[in-house]
Symmetry: C2
Amino acid sequence: MKQVTGAVCTRCGHIVAADPDITVCPKCGGILDIQYDYDYIRSHVSKYDLLDRADPTMWRYLEFLPVEGLGTRPRLRVGGSPLYRADALARRLGIDTLWIKDDGLNPTASLKDRASAMAVVKAEEAGRSVIACSSTGNAASSLAGNAAAAGLSTYIFVPSRAPKGKVAQLLMFGATVVLVEGSYEDTFRLSAEAIDRWGWYNRNAAINPYLMEGKKTVSLEIAEQLQFRMPDYVALSVGDGCTIAGVWKGFRDLFEAGFIDRLPRLISVQASGCCPINTAAAAHTMDWTPQEENTIADSIAVGVPRNPVKALRAIEESHGVTVNVSDEEILAAMRMLGRYAGVFAEPAGAAGSAGLKKAVEQGLIEKNASVVSIVTGNGLKDVNNAIRAAGEPIAIPADMDCLLKAFDERGISPA
Amino acid sequence: MKQVTGAVCTRCGHIVAADPDITVCPKCGGILDIQYDYDYIRSHVSKYDLLDRADPTMWRYLEFLPVEGLGTRPRLRVGGSPLYRADALARRLGIDTLWIKDDGLNPTASLKDRASAMAVVKAEEAGRSVIACSSTGNAASSLAGNAAAAGLSTYIFVPSRAPKGKVAQLLMFGATVVLVEGSYEDTFRLSAEAIDRWGWYNRNAAINPYLMEGKKTVSLEIAEQLQFRMPDYVALSVGDGCTIAGVWKGFRDLFEAGFIDRLPRLISVQASGCCPINTAAAAHTMDWTPQEENTIADSIAVGVPRNPVKALRAIEESHGVTVNVSDEEILAAMRMLGRYAGVFAEPAGAAGSAGLKKAVEQGLIEKNASVVSIVTGNGLKDVNNAIRAAGEPIAIPADMDCLLKAFDERGISPA
């Protein structure tokens, strides 16, 4: 791993060797951040090399990733998700240019596959065959799927409010699933205790610094798909803070390596009912306060974020915009993405676009802006909320006159 | 469209011009089949050209497809689904080599996206901006999604018994959904009347001969992903017959164009509770008999198949193997795919693999065979059956003693 120089503590600055099973800072318990030798990277790969590569997965960016190699175990096709130019949606939102990055098309239907694919590789490097995590859903199902493909075992701790689809996915992938009666915080605590007790490989994104390095590949892809011409903004939803931190790290890496000449501003979107990171970011402080978890967007309902430091730094460094959205605004964004872009998002997946819409309406970003909005998870993960968002169909007897009357009543001219 | 010579009736042999809005044979009402000039194709593209192409979608095979071009409308990224080498599963099944083609990773999570993407392009060619179909399943949701991306409208007729989740997906994509109080037959009749009345483009796979041409791209991909070295068998589930007919057409096209030097044998899998095509195929007759629809695999629960002719010919020509599987065998295959390959399939999506397992056990195929098994749809489409297949998670309070007790009771040794 000559591209990696070490792991630095985000709290005390202490540097440790980048062993495959590092977790938090041994000195102060702070979260670690993987550091790279950008001269080394630059001398081993160019952006033109990347554009020529055949591998469609996140591993096409190997020089930017903290791995020795990929080993021989089978793996799912993670990454390479489409970036759709969405002109109809841009017009509707009143901005110049919009792209939708549909990360719901990953193998287990969320962006978290990128982190879990990384966890599997690092667990192999560390010589472990069991991986564990606690999660509201997507981190878990992605871990279970990616580990199953590679032949590793998983123990997964999920809060009891997780949607049934997500739990079913875990069980289908052969994970041992523990449904914990309590909050995400309770769930996290029990999983940490169990991981300590049995020495499992830890796939908890805030503790394992490698996972963010997997997540950052979404940014490497966005940049490459735009031929390394950066948009003004990148919008995404924020829960425990790991994803936005990863997204920022990806852009920073490309900038440091000289592959892009400017950095986009982040639009950090949280649910109004659970927005501890945005509240602190808007006040330009690192002092965040725990909040309740009142939102339908379960994947970002994190009242006690596990990675506030990296997230808050990412928002600050990018001169980011913070927006909080109501559940109604999230449901409306789900309809908007479906109708005008053909993209079906889960609530947390649509929240970034809901926030973008609101940021435009409130004049927080310019009308002539170019924006990438990341859809972090697929709507099939949460059908109950899709039903809530979707409204009602036309219900009639099997009769043409009834059809004509129904169209007429609704002002539909089908000609 | 110089690669296309016309459309021939599968019943009476009458040939018509390949206009974009042809449906059935104007002489006898038989199903049409698109015909190609393989010399023309061969002189315009080689298999080495294909391997070099950057377009990751089904449209990379443009010379093999009945379209003028792709126009300028945005479209979803259909096709380019992964082909996983599944050694752990092969060992479990007792065969030499197995690949899983995961077509559940298409944009709306099923193979049907390939047909619907084709429908959208042909509707545009025909100058239509409205497409209609009657279906509750994957055909409808894929049509709604692909049309939404391209800015076309859809009218979708569903029987009132349609599950809410499926209706929700249609509504999310902005389709006008007409819920018809009556049977599927009533629904179909009203949709046909409306299509006639308003001149909408007709997306019905058995009536519109172009849709199968979209579906065949799954075979073109499989061949290319295997460097044009064919497996001995290709296993897949069969409902109305259009998909297996499309799969066979793809391999035939490649064979006729000289891109592959042998054809795989098809393993046609139906549910024991609804197997009219396999029953006829096993008796080597084209005389099939309608059956009841008794299976959890709703996507292949077709008692009156709409494309039996092409399906039965495909099975016969390929010296195919027919296998019928019970619902229990389908649920077991869902677990097997998840646990040993990290692939989450809906019941109809797993049925092909269930049939493969049974074919090996019954000695219908050789132990040293190489097989591709196609997963036609994602498990997130049918969470209730996934839960049925998966069993229940461990549910406990957030307490280590409860966890220890739960593991102990279940004989789990997590060390």
